[in-house]
Symmetry: C3
Subunit: 295 residues, 3 copies
């Protein structure tokens, strides 16, 4: 039984450890998942509100980190609008300080991809014969980037990305994926559909047409869903724009595993925290990765 | 001895449970009371700052709730500017998720009314022969609404509301109360005076005269207090506007039980949380209500 | 071994106690140090975000305190922009409620001075033969004021303050210090250099010249550092303005003890909290002060 389903949702793995949630970009949801995960591991959690933090007073990111590290904190969960921020930090802290990237710019969001892979494995058993489609703003999405990396690493034979041409990276095929601008063609015969959140700000950039037109072309409806395999699952990292990238009938329908993703997100983040704090993370050997171990 | 008075103010009733403070309307004070209450019950507490939460990104209240619930959280404390918000949520969560309404629009603020009833009972022994006056902005006050409901339910024979005509609901008598626009007449012979906080914003709406005039007519002074019974108690849900709805001499005087209300607020909220988590709340039988049980 | 260096960084000294961080002035860093210190002592910590607190609704500081105190909280850590705020509060709470001043206006910042004294003692052994220079905005600095007080109380024979004339208090010598406007003269032969943070806002007040000129005259560079004793230590309360009051080569150099100050800050604040909660603080006898006891 998972810790989240127990009467007392608490294990002492990180007792006496200090976890710092350092979110330079607002995200109540992701911050909350890490906070819950850390508290269920019995860690002390410090939320640093960076809207009022010293970095606003002109202090550099690394000075902020060095200071927090000097307080004998153990683990930083970092979200930052600049790509590479967590990696930069990881290169400058002593080895006993652990770093988790909770999203950096449009680069990566590894724990989101991990929980997505965990979810796919739960529902599909293995990755070997899957067709997976990722739909939406591929160009700006760190989630899509990490998912693509995870799916190809885990041996998924066919990863498709579906988006209007203006939201596809140039030469996206080099990432080992197949690109589609026609959603109906792209969904044909897939086992997993991952919808992305559309930032409404993109509208103003003239990169996409009206909301209504986007929904018509790239919104997941029951009608379009029928093009996928009968037992295809529907995923979304949240928060959803109902009626924009996904229809409520699908979001709340029998093929949706969107809420199980959230539940798995706590378990996967607890696992990641426990493993890196135990110093057993052998990230260079993919066959020992946390995803396989905990599936 | 109450938990709040012990050397170690902690009981393990909610150990391993996750309580989410979900305040869509700012209230440091009420949020703090629930946070302290939950921590003294040994729960993990997550404060969700809704100024930056996903609902700001266009997500609906119910999607926010469903997501938090998918994280295996146990209890939501919800404050929202829309009347009925907590009730709406309670209708859509599975039975193991508990909801506490910490104030919804101008509708209700049940735990405030409960702590007020607890306080009245402590000082007055029973409700059977009491005259209670509620004074101030009755029209907009969820506190007044919940108090009225509680007082009449508990059998208080005479509940009076005192306000300028513009701050009285139409047909207020239908709630089982007596309405007064003359404060001196309304205070005559009462045992309990409950002052309400006046939102200064009401001034601009031309619903009330100047601050000075409001204080003259509806501010509780030592002079007006003498019209009540000699052993009448003075209550206020806080935060007080000294010199607007209440004079400092009364607020800090011997008949004031305003600070005991705050102390009782922690105890009552601990009781409410513990009871609803234990699943023993039989709200349909008033003789077993938490108020009586814990008096 | 200090608690911060243990595997499980937790002692039960304040278990079941409620510590309230009441910051009327934003400071993520200082708030974080107190939060970590309190949690390592096993206290429950409540952060009160005063941007949305009742004091914003017109409630007075003392009403806010009285309310929090009525919730059976044990210790307030108060930062406020008004000089004397913590002292005012301390005069109005009952004796069982403890107050820590975490910075009040331009008056005092006692725990910062304590951790600085602790750091000096760690590196210099004793205070008896030291020359200490404090450099920067002496006029507005509560840190400088508390440090001066601590240094002279502990018997440091020569305390120097170095600043442009516009940033020196009038008649500063009455505090028992020697004032210098020439940094090179002031650094001659000192054992400890304490750099202060320069508020960039001062620039607009025309109190200081350009940033470049300030750095040339009062920024600590390797070149100027050579005027001090060979084993002089360099301190800074943070956050640093690199290239304004201090050069990176010095801040990160072998004589810098800036990060050890941060580490000591947790230990000293844990000690202060534990001592005042134990009620053993005999502040009137300086020979029993927390600084000596814990050195």
């Amino acid at each position: 039984m998972s810790v989240g389903e127990r009467e007392i949702k608490k294990v002492p793995l990180l007792r006496g450890k200090t976890v710092v949630n350092l979110f330079f970009e607002s995200s109540t949801r992701t911050r909350t998942t890490f906070e819950i995960a850390a508290k269920r591991l019995s860690a002390d959690v410090i939320n640093v509100d960076t809207r009022v933090s010293a970095t606003n007073k002109g202090e550099s990111l690394l000075d902020t980190i060095r200071n927090l590290e000097a307080m004998h904190t153990d683990l930083f969960v970092i979200r930052h609008s600049k790509s590479g921020a967590a990696y930069l930090v990881a290169q400058h802290v002593p080895p006993h300080v652990r770093i988790i990237n909770a999203g950096d710019g449009s680069h990566a969001h590894p724990t989101q991809a991990m929980l997505d892979m965990f979810t796919i494995r739960r529902y599909k058993g293995s990755f070997e014969n899957l067709k997976v489609a990722i739909v939406g703003d591929i160009l700006h999405s760190r989630v899509a980037r990490s998912q693509t990396h995870a799916l190809t690493t885990l041996g998924v034979p066919e990863v498709r990305v579906i988006a209007p041409r203006t939201l596809l990276p140039t030469a996206v095929e080099r990432l080992g994926v197949h690109a589609y601008t026609d959603m109906r063609a792209g969904l044909e015969g897939v086992d997993v559909i991952i919808m992305l959140r559309l930032q409404r700000e993109r509208m103003q950039g003239a990169r996409i047409p009206s909301e209504q037109e986007f929904f018509n072309l790239y919104g997941l409806t029951a009608d379009k869903l029928r093009l996928a395999n009968k037992d295809a699952i529907v995923m979304h990292p949240g928060p959803m724009n109902r009626g924009l990238e996904i229809d409520s009938a699908v979001a709340d329908g029998p093929q949706s595993v969107i809420l199980p993703q959230v539940t798995n997100g706590i378990a996967v983040r607890m696992a990641v925290m426990a493993i890196i704090m135990a110093g057993k993370a052998k990230l260079e050997k993919p066959e020992q990765s946390s995803i396989r171990k905990h599936a």
